[in-house]
Symmetry: C2
Subunit: 634 residues, 2 copies
Amino acid sequence: MPESKETYDAVIIGAGPVGLLLAVCLARWGYKIKNVDNREIPTLTGRADGIQPRSLHLLRNMGLKRQIMAHEPAKVYEVAFWDPLPGGKGIHRTGNWASCPKFIDARYPFTTLLHQGLIERVFINDLHKNGADVQRPWTITGFNNDGHDEHYPVEVTLKHVQTNERETVRTKYLFSGEGARSFIRDQLGVKIRHKDPISHVWGVMDGIVRTDFPDVKTKCTIHSDHGSIMIIPRENDMVRLYIQIASSTDKDFNPRKRATLEEVQASAKMILQPYYIDWDRVEWYSVYPIGQGIAEKYTIDHRVFLGGDCCHTHSPKAGQGMNTAFHDALNLAWKIHLVEGGFAKRSILHTYETERKSIAEDLLNFDAKYAALFSRRKPSAGEVGAANESKEAGEVNEFVEVFKSSAEFTSGYGIAYGPNQFNWSPDHSAQSHLFNPKGNALRTGRIMPPANVTRVVDANKVQLEQEIPLNGSFRIFLFAGVPSTTQRAVADFAANLEKQSSFYSSFQRKDIAAVSYHERHNPHSRFFTICTTFAAPRAQLEIAKLLPPILARYSDHVYADDVWDPRFPDAKAAAHAKMGLDVGMGGVVVVRPDGHVACVISLVEGGGTVDALNEYFGAFVAKKIGKSKMQAHL
Amino acid sequence: MPESKETYDAVIIGAGPVGLLLAVCLARWGYKIKNVDNREIPTLTGRADGIQPRSLHLLRNMGLKRQIMAHEPAKVYEVAFWDPLPGGKGIHRTGNWASCPKFIDARYPFTTLLHQGLIERVFINDLHKNGADVQRPWTITGFNNDGHDEHYPVEVTLKHVQTNERETVRTKYLFSGEGARSFIRDQLGVKIRHKDPISHVWGVMDGIVRTDFPDVKTKCTIHSDHGSIMIIPRENDMVRLYIQIASSTDKDFNPRKRATLEEVQASAKMILQPYYIDWDRVEWYSVYPIGQGIAEKYTIDHRVFLGGDCCHTHSPKAGQGMNTAFHDALNLAWKIHLVEGGFAKRSILHTYETERKSIAEDLLNFDAKYAALFSRRKPSAGEVGAANESKEAGEVNEFVEVFKSSAEFTSGYGIAYGPNQFNWSPDHSAQSHLFNPKGNALRTGRIMPPANVTRVVDANKVQLEQEIPLNGSFRIFLFAGVPSTTQRAVADFAANLEKQSSFYSSFQRKDIAAVSYHERHNPHSRFFTICTTFAAPRAQLEIAKLLPPILARYSDHVYADDVWDPRFPDAKAAAHAKMGLDVGMGGVVVVRPDGHVACVISLVEGGGTVDALNEYFGAFVAKKIGKSKMQAHL
């Protein structure tokens, strides 16, 4: 007798950062998910712990930053570089570098260090709020995209790790967030390509120490005559040490080389000389070889997807693992939502692999350079002698230079998706001459920069880029310039949105008549939210007089660009200035649901601006919109 | 048979804001408290909801701000003034004013609006963390400072409100946070003095509304031909309306006048014309007369104390009630701690009444002016005719002017305690010529202004005034100027602290040998914490080289004054500049445990600076310190 099979929108294997973030997004947006994990409880010790500036920005956008910060994580603002003193006299500091230098326009210019288990629990609590949970300890035993059910084409079999109880379910999507050893990836036959021929064995240790080493609460990379260490501060007075145990450049390299805790502690004491270090307590200790690799495919059928460590493994030193995982999950989440919400063509799912694999390639290139530099055994001061000091300084420079040039990438703000249907370029199918107006400072595929503005209805000073929560919607930022100048263009913009053929009209909510009076973000459609920002002081802005009803409906998203910004000290409208939009003209910035800039369009009188938006969205939406639709009606 | 009586450090009657804040402080600092409340559960609806900027600063210092903000409270940045249009044509906006204008140097320049019950729960959760709780529903039935037990002189009898179960306990202190109707105050025979002869009857209503009134999410005071309303936004799309129902200036005034919800809603609709307003839901509605009054005494025997609404009642319009309560409790908490911790003479408890009653007097003076202006029935536009518009404008000005001039007071940053043993003045017993150095910008008795600095050990950008949590300790801020110039003075400062006669040596912890290596704030004494701020970039500061061990022990409290401040754009060391301290000289700022400036002393070579500190503390500590002690040893 065939058992009745439960159906899901997504079955997510693994409840680490990548699986949890995907589960949280989909559960919040109303999808039915099953998230299983083969561990009995969330991570207790060790593992990833670095939240980069852009990731914190994302967590804020998800409303989870406050809960992360409630754990009082360590914050890393600077990295210190230490190198050997000549004559075997120990180590000295040779430089400092901001972990998120000022040239990066970040809201949170620091790395947040917190135990992965605490981060996981923040996500799990959020799942609970949406009636979801992680099913533990369960694992996957098989799956098949057999298409027997057109709506739920993938069958997945699961079992309880201890009792062997089995469950078979059907799902629209299956996701592997299983980590480096992925059953799903193996079953798909997806190969891991190893980029970096050099490999290393590292020890990692979390603990509470006593030391007179002055930078123990800062991130440090330390080279000494006795080896190399990386120090990373943690919450609750803890410190993480990464210590190199072996390198494939060693004559007698053995990737299975191990070291006891005591050996690594003895080694750390040697490296840190002339400073002392003692341990009150060691919370976690592990030894592992660095296996840099990248999955050749992130999906085969666009139903079964891979993400996180399952797709890319690399050294932990730049604190990128969890962050890359977050963004894998985010990227897939909103694309699944666009398809399953009925907004976009199924073919957009192809962009998950193209976008995220290219970032993983960038990451591994960075990591290879960084890890190689870090791991390279330096000639000891005794060997090279004081005379060689200048040569040594040259090497230090190479290391520091790699670090500096990589700061934008490691902060997360350097992530740039290439041109495709989402990220406008001159090759995009939308060819209106209004795209990419002269002077605009935005780069499609990159994060929209932060901007402070005043919300008109309540005079609150707010962060414009954070005003729309991560709700899966496109964000249409109408920079409306000086009201008296753009009045006509704004009126025309609204009138053209209302045309039957527009993206606006085509994707109205079916339940639009029942939408709450108090709905702030999606009164008309879950496909987009509209924000209007005027280049005028708040006191001069009357929403009902300035905006047609269709735009005034987003009254909680109307802003005055009247907050002074130290990066644009002379601008009267700093947000407009930051975007490179003229206050006499304004402009429209479309931002993807994940915060990356999609396209920038001139704001003009007449129908051109909305036509361009229709063209842009027309490249990937599931309905015919814009002129072609109008013509079809004729 | 006499029952054995449980003993407490403090019995606190009432678990509203004043009782809870006192309970939280004392419980955190290790005291045994009993907090009883006659309600079965915390406040469910209504009551106070305005957290002023200085109070939010305090909650941050207690580590509770994040939990308050997790409820997404409304934030009020501006107050809008609305007045009648001539010719009976409804109302129009006549002005806006920042609720915490820029001339006030506040970290959080807004008022936070949140339901009192949610605020109470934040405190109650904190009590739980320290093993304490609120005992409900219990009430006090009697008390007697009979001195039968020299350590626990006050006997208190309590009963369960429903079962009449009784309990008799003994305590060092009894506190009434019972609110306006206080059993303890009545038993003590303390009279309420009514300052303002004018009284008013007000209706207050919390609810969710629909309206096209554009300022419904801002704080507004509205005068119309049909009466007056105050609008206050709340969390979760709620709005609070205060509507005047009667005034003693009315011919037929009846302080018992009531109005139904429907009457008040009808009245609101009239007042807001030409705008509409409808209610989705009313959460709370109440009518009450404003009874402005002040208790003539806050204590009689310095064992039984009164605070909060029990001591001062006034109109709710400026959102001061809960804030004044917080500061009553805070003021008493640290003074009890100084006495019971063995640091200060019992006589300091006298300053609770002198300090807090003077603030209550200020509050009532402000409130009388504000409420009278607000309540005064304005001649209707129809009555006075368009010709009188200019006269009307004059009246508006008076209202706005009172509001503006009071902004510093209502923000909490205007609170200024007068000279006494804690707040140095030329009349203080400490007469060193080093007090109050020329140029210093601080005013004793007022809050230390905020300043951004870089913490040396971890390069974190931090808020200097928040760096020491509310732990009951005095805060000694050593502004050490330019290291090369002050090197000798800093060394002398440390050497003189170490002298046996100093306040430093006199109040060392008994458990000093067992103090954790990781203790950041009180490694030497619970009486004080020492912070050192240098006028130099962080990269130039090596704690071990610059500071003698006694100061270096506070390594988490060593800062670089290297953060640019828009209020001092040209200063190289903005924190020094803000305090008015010369970077070539430095200075010592002593801040009371509650954040108010106690005294400012020049930093000089030799023993003078520590001598002055000994003199200052000598005015109220429980031991002989400084020269007199040294002489006693001779």
